[in-house]
């Protein structure tokens, strides 16, 4: 470890950034795999079933009590699923537009993974800040990248060159643009209060003045519901609604390309959960405990902060999954009505009221 001190600051920065990118990528990918498992287990629990409980690699039979227990939890299921996706036949229908058909799954995954770069998932470990890129316009970066996510779905529909994927992609482009507006407007009151676009600053503000979810409950509700629409999750999964459009935009896809759409959806869920935690639930801080609201001064505390962040994120992931199995799907006109005629006026009113209150109390 001593050798690190001899490197130039630039080299250190590159080394640590590469390390952070690698670790975050690994964690997000693992989290995606296990989010699928949680989704299956929670849905099974809600529908009074058992869920995946059979996948057992050879070594489990040598573990006395733990082995069968892990198998019943389905711990090994994601590995089996991943292997299955890799080995399945990758079929490309003859009528597709090949370039777009191949590009679309990648374009879906990349923005979802890029979003995580600006999220502060902990205070610091040693002297290293636990955020890959501490941008001054962090939140705008996130919105910019998220808004590119729609291309994956639109191009999947266009590239598939058949009617159901096409309808799915048309739906999704309209839906995602509409809810991006509501989402973007819902967070403006937060910036009025914190006077910063930097996500680390927003967390610091919340540690000092209390969580945003208490100060801006309306903004939180709008942001969260818009997040459901942005990630194409029920009750807003119109682009892939299987009862009308077979599979929506991914009807023609198989094997790993199909899996990439799934990966993108869950990575998006993780990114939106992380955003909600950062913007509304104080990020890695906890109120009333000083050690948990100030930047860490020891490795252990740094790890605890990361743990707090992940616990809050897991909570939102469970909410995402829970809602999916509890609510029926919206009709398309209801979806548009909710977005344009309810959320956007509400978000605008919220901005005006917040601005007036801030102007009155700051002077």
């Amino acid at each position: 470890m001593e050798a690190i001190n001899y490197l130039s600051p630039t080299a250190q920065m590159i080394l640590f950034s590469a390390l952070k990118i690698g670790v975050v990528f690994g964690v997000v990918m693992t989290a995606v795999a296990y989010a699928v498992l949680v989704e299956r287990k929670v849905s099974a629990w809600i529908q009074n079933r058992v869920g995946p409980n059979r996948t057992a690699p050879f070594f489990t039979q040598y573990l006395p009590v733990i082995g069968p227990f892990l198998v019943r939890l389905g711990i090994f299921q994601p590995a089996a699923d991943g292997l299955k996706f890799l080995l399945k036949e990758d079929f490309t229908p003859s009528y597709v537009r090949k370039v777009y058909f191949w590009l679309a799954p990648a374009i879906t995954v990349i923005p979802a993974l890029l979003t995580v770069a600006v999220i502060p998932f902990g205070s610091n470990l040693g002297s290293e800040k636990m955020v890959i890129a501490d941008l001054n316009v962090g939140i705008l970066y996130t919105f910019g990248i998220v808004s590119l996510g729609v291309y994956g779905i639109v191009l999947a529909g266009y590239g598939s060159n058949s009617k159901y994927p096409f309808l799915g992609s048309i739906r999704s482009s309209a839906q995602m643009i509409s809810y991006e507006i509501a989402m973007g407007m819902s967070v403006i009151p937060i910036f009025i209060l914190t006077e910063s676009l930097n996500l680390s600053d927003i967390i610091r503000y919340q540690a000092e003045h209390g969580w945003m979810i208490i100060k801006q409950p309306l903004a939180f509700v709008i942001f969260m519901i818009a997040a459901f629409a942005e990630t194409n999750r029920l009750p807003f999964d119109l682009p892939e609604s299987e009862s009308e459009l077979v599979g929506g935009y991914h009807t023609e896809y198989s094997s790993m390309k199909f899996a990439l759409f799934f990966l993108g959806e869950y990575a998006n869920m993780i990114a939106s959960s992380a955003m909600m935690v950062t913007l509304f639930l104080g990020g890695w801080t906890m109120p009333f405990i000083d050690a948990l609201s100030l930047p860490a001064n020891s490795l252990l505390l740094g790890l605890i902060h990361i743990g707090v962040f992940f616990a809050k994120m897991a909570f939102f992931m469970i909410v995402f999954i829970w809602v999916r199995w509890m609510l029926p799907r919206f009709r398309y006109d209801q979806l548009m009505d909710l977005g344009w005629r309810r959320f956007i006026p509400m978000a605008l009113a919220n901005i005006v009221v917040t601005a007036i209150v801030v102007a009155l109390f700051n002077n």
Binding site: V137, G144, S147, L148, V150
Partner: protein, 170 residues
């Protein structure tokens, strides 16, 4: 590291020009969707140029507004119309002439402003840093009137577009 940023500038500028060229004249594909996608890439590489100028706010807004919203609507319309005839390339002589003329005019004014501009020392430009607060101050304090006029203009354009599409209103 000045050399590295220079390298990035030339790479991004080259990419912007290349993608821009492919938007207008693509030898491999004549589909309007491909053109639209290259326009998106042009916009994204231009956002990269803004980042090199330390104008992070502009870069983010460029991607958010143009690449993320305007172009999606473009794509939406192109896909819905399914422009089959336009895939065959036909040149309207008047349009080519007018387009060339306006391109020349823009290029001329750009060259003129570059020639006229006084080179600023590298540090002076960095002071602004594309700071969002400074930008907000400029827009809402010293330039508030042009800014508001511009927003009203946009609103008028929007209302006009809706009026044109709503036939039964007349």
């Amino acid at each position: 590291m000045p050399q590295f940023t220079d390298l990035l500038f030339y790479a991004l500028a080259g990419l912007t020009l290349l993608f821009g060229f492919l938007t207008v004249l693509n030898p491999l594909s004549r589909s309007p969707v491909t053109s639209a996608m290259f326009l998106v890439l042009t916009i994204i590489s231009m956002a990269g140029l803004f980042v090199l100028l330390h104008a992070f706010f502009l870069a983010a807004v460029q991607v958010l507004v143009y690449a993320g919203a305007v172009m999606v609507v473009f794509l939406f319309v192109i896909m819905l119309l399914d422009l089959k005839e336009d895939e065959r390339r036909h040149f309207n002589k008047v349009a080519v002439g007018l387009g060339g003329l306006s391109a020349l005019a823009i290029a001329g004014s750009l060259v003129a402003s570059v020639v006229k501009s006084v080179p600023v020392s590298a540090t002076a430009g960095r002071m602004a840093e594309g700071d969002t607060k400074a930008l907000g101050r400029l827009l809402f304090e010293s330039h508030v009137l042009p800014f508001e006029i511009l927003s009203v203009l946009l609103l008028v354009a929007m209302v006009g577009a809706i009026l044109i599409t709503k036939k039964d209103l007349r």
